[in-house]
């Protein structure tokens, strides 16, 4: 029994590439889910997707200029992601069009431009690589970059946490305090872009957003508190990335989709059996009798 467990769960990590992949995905699992929680709470669940497309042209340009160099591709991704965010924001402010409409327009343009640029300079193998990632090809430089970006995200999020919470809860109150909530909002969107660029190497530009959103949407079925949501989301992300890597190793399937699909299983499971608002909860409703102490 122990041998079997060892063979399935521990032995794969004897390989250096699996260890690096595990650490990279752990770093991403700590940084991405909290962002997802805030995106869900702000009713911006699809913005992550839009941003994932927005970083593509920059990643492609970096790829065209420097080949498969993660720092160059990340830099390009960050720049184009921020550019699209700023452009979409200013177009919607100037024209009065809703921000999601401007965002949708820009991310479609970005996706087309990104795919075009990669096709100009590389093969379809490269395209698949950029779109869907290859976590098993993470080298030490990439690992350092991913860990650094993830740490930066966690620290920045901790710094802007209260401002972000108050801005989400009641933007008018924050404005009354003479604080421009848009600063917290802008920094937050910047972090989303950073996070996606950190994730694209391992999960691909299109899959990176999955580790951000799926644990966050699943967590909603387990907790009513912000801290709870974040903790559960991180937990789901950690389990999904470890499990996904192992599945990918044992069954020779692509790692990115394996991780995201596992997170997806987590979401469906939570929706069915979670402790809050899940299907099971709706079927088996009960309430504390009057006069019972308030749950803390």
């Amino acid at each position: 029994m122990l041998t079997l467990l060892n063979e399935w769960l521990i032995a794969p990590f004897d390989y250096g590439f699996m260890r690096r992949a595990l650490i990279a995905s752990f770093a991403l699992s700590l940084a991405a889910p909290p962002m997802g929680v805030f995106l869900v709470l702000r009713g911006m669940s699809l913005i992550g997707d839009a941003m994932a497309h927005a970083i593509l042209p920059g990643v492609a340009l970096g790829f065209l200029v420097a080949g498969f160099s993660l720092p160059m591709m990340s830099l390009g991704g960050i720049l184009s992601g921020l550019l699209v965010a700023v452009l979409a924001g200013s177009v919607s402010q100037m024209s009065g069009q809703r921000e999601d409409a401007a965002m949708a327009s820009f991310f479609l343009i970005s996706l087309a431009a990104g795919v075009m640029i990669i096709s100009l300079g590389g093969s379809s193998v490269d395209l698949t690589h950029v779109l869907f990632g290859s976590i098993l090809a993470v080298n030490s430089t990439s690992l350092l970059l991913i860990a650094a970006i993830s740490s930066l995200i966690v620290i920045t999020l901790a710094v802007i946490f209260r401002a972000l919470v108050v801005e989400c809860l009641d933007p008018l109150f924050l404005r009354g305090q003479g604080v421009r909530g848009s600063i917290a909002h802008g920094v937050f969107l910047g972090l989303v872009v950073l996070n996606l660029t950190a994730g694209f190497q391992t999960l691909g530009t299109l899959m990176a957003v999955g580790l951000m959103m799926l644990p966050a949407t699943a967590a909603r079925f387990w907790s009513k508190r912000l801290e709870g949501l974040i903790a559960v989301a991180i937990g789901i992300a950690l389990v999904a990335s470890t499990g996904g890597l192992l599945l990918s190793y044992h069954f020779n399937i692509p790692s990115g989709p394996a991780i995201i699909l596992l997170a997806g299983v987590g979401y469906v499971f939570s929706a069915l059996f979670g402790s809050q608002h899940s299907l099971l909860r709706r079927l088996r409703r009960h309430a504390a009798p009057l006069g019972a102490p308030e749950p803390h």
Partner: protein, 244 residues
């Protein structure tokens, strides 16, 4: 009464929504510790005036002179910007009122939590401290929001229909708290439609009509049969305009 200070003055104020002037030549002052009711029919500019006072609407002409620091001004609009689905408890909402002293970074200390609990006790919502905002009734939510302004130590408080959709017990509690705040020197401006509540809360009112404002004592129009159709009286009351 004239010797008392007034930290909020309106001087020949003109306010517009878009290109349409809503209010003009508004002159007057709000004494510290006074509760002033703001009354007028729909569309006469009550919300516009509040936005102007809060500094959220730039005047076309004239000025709002407010010596109350920005972080001590509080506004409870009728259409709340508050996201009720946000996973936050009553206690946490009340604690966000400590923004003026704690800002975005400083941690809350035990004394601050104690203050928060005292405020909740004063408003009769101690038992709701850990309840999520989404599960509160209208009255409980209003108490929690007033709790936030108490935490904020608001010195200028603007309320838009604070007693709408609120049970009578809550109205009593809120009135007591508002009077206490005024006694401590806070300037309170409250939009009210209910003449009975108005007469119990304050003795001064500003009547808005036809783009002008006039300060009138509450009893002057309570004696008249205006409850059913206040419009003719309000138009009559507005004919004189004071100077700054």
């Amino acid at each position: 009464m004239e010797t008392q200070t007034a930290r909020l003055r309106l001087c020949d104020l003109q306010l517009a929504q878009g290109s349409r002037t809503v209010l003009e030549h508004i002159n007057g002052e709000f004494r510290d510790g006074a509760i002033t009711a703001l009354i007028g029919a729909n569309g006469t500019g009550k919300s516009t005036l509040i936005q102007g006072i809060m500094g959220m609407l730039k005047p076309i002409a004239g000025r709002v002179e407010c010596q109350v620091p920005k972080e001590r001004r509080a506004w409870l609009p009728q259409q709340l910007a508050l996201d009720l689905t946000f996973p936050m408890s009553v206690e946490e909402l009340v604690m966000t009122g400590s923004w003026p002293s704690h800002g975005a970074f400083k941690g809350y200390c035990a004394a601050h939590y104690r203050k928060g609990r005292e405020i909740m006790a004063r408003l009769g919502i101690s038992h709701l401290a850990h309840r999520p905002l989404g599960e509160l009734s209208g009255g409980q939510r209003q108490r929690a929001l007033i709790g936030r302004t108490l935490m904020q130590e608001a010195e200028l408080l603007l309320l838009d229909e604070p007693f709408a959709n609120v049970d009578s017990d809550t109205v009593e509690v809120l009135m007591t708290v508002l009077r206490d705040m005024a006694r401590d020197g806070a300037t309170i401006i409250v939009v009210l439609h209910d003449m009975e509540q108005l007469s119990r809360l304050t003795s001064e009112a500003i009547v808005l009509a036809g783009g002008h404002a006039r300060w009138v004592p509450v009893e002057s129009f309570l004696q008249q049969p205006i409850a059913d159709s206040p419009a003719p009286f309000l138009t009559h009351a507005i004919t004189g305009v004071g100077t700054c």
